[in-house]
Symmetry: C2
Subunit: 200 residues, 2 copies
Amino acid sequence: MPRRSQHSKDELRQLALEAVLVIAERDGSQAVSARKVAQEIGYAPGMLYYLFESIDDLILHANARTLASMIRSLRTAVQRKSPQRALLAMARQYLELAQHNGRRWQLLFEHAMRHDAPVPDWYRQQTDALFRLVEEQLAALAPEKKEKEIQLAARAIWSAVHGVCLLAVTGKLEVGGKVPATRLVDSLVRHYLAGWVASA
Amino acid sequence: MPRRSQHSKDELRQLALEAVLVIAERDGSQAVSARKVAQEIGYAPGMLYYLFESIDDLILHANARTLASMIRSLRTAVQRKSPQRALLAMARQYLELAQHNGRRWQLLFEHAMRHDAPVPDWYRQQTDALFRLVEEQLAALAPEKKEKEIQLAARAIWSAVHGVCLLAVTGKLEVGGKVPATRLVDSLVRHYLAGWVASA
DNA sequence: ACCTGAACACCGTTCAAGT
DNA sequence: ACCTGAACACCGTTCAAGT
């Protein structure tokens, strides 16, 4: 019946995205649903399909925000440090984000695995921006390496850091000794870089 | 109304677990549901709650099977190889499993992230068995290292391998060049080990 | 003891209908 | 153009009731 139009389409979109993150942080990432998002912003569930293609599309856009703020955070971690120290700082900061913003982070990587559907291009460009930050430091660290080698190493090391953060946050790494996650990240970055730089 | 009792409780449990994996492989990991599992084995949905605590408990048990077969597969990959070659072979085999049994693997790691509930002990022991395989090889590689160091390195390297496999399988690593995932795994294991062994 | 069938409180998504 | 409300086809889970 109604026709509210209090907000523009884009304002509504922003409200919905905000609501996704609020719900994820408040009630857990599993609690995010189209119906709850709609309720949170005071609209009927069907309205969301006028803003987004699907609930997956909605969550993906919300995750893009999280990703963007993560990239900003990593960028500031670099500062004017040497390449090695910058990479170490980035990895630590990534872990810090994973541990501190746990639920937002969970929404990001949980959802990434849903469906076999390929990730849309606009989203891929965001993740590529993250790899580029790593590539920059690797190139500064080893200027003699070819671009291909830099790309490969950036993907190897960052996937590795991601894996450590993932298993650490989901509590799958503790054993009797309870190794602190930051030690794992440090060990990984330090030794991989040492081996990589030394290699022909 | 009925009381069938054609199968023992344990037989029924095995049937249900089998059904979970069949559905995951046939229809995708997202398609696994209590109702579908019940239908697959020809029972009413409610019956499953007489066998398992919840759908999560059911899937966790099915995943334990996948994990066990993965561990067996990694064990055979070791053979009589040198520690370095054994670790490389294990990592490659892990990637191979991830790529070949994609949907089973997806069910395993998707589900691992659901809920904040801690993973039960009987499941943790399974994952620990995997780390122990890695620790064995690291201990053989560097007998002078302390046990603590071995444990830390095993978790670091295996989380890293896991991360590479995860992002590779979910297609988040390709860029223009399309780096083959096995190169990433190789680079990671080789360089990390080189750096680790060389470190004091 | 073993299992059903119906019920409850949820989902995502579509779409005719109202302004 | 913008949004609702109801409907459809799904969920997980519980539990009285039947044998």
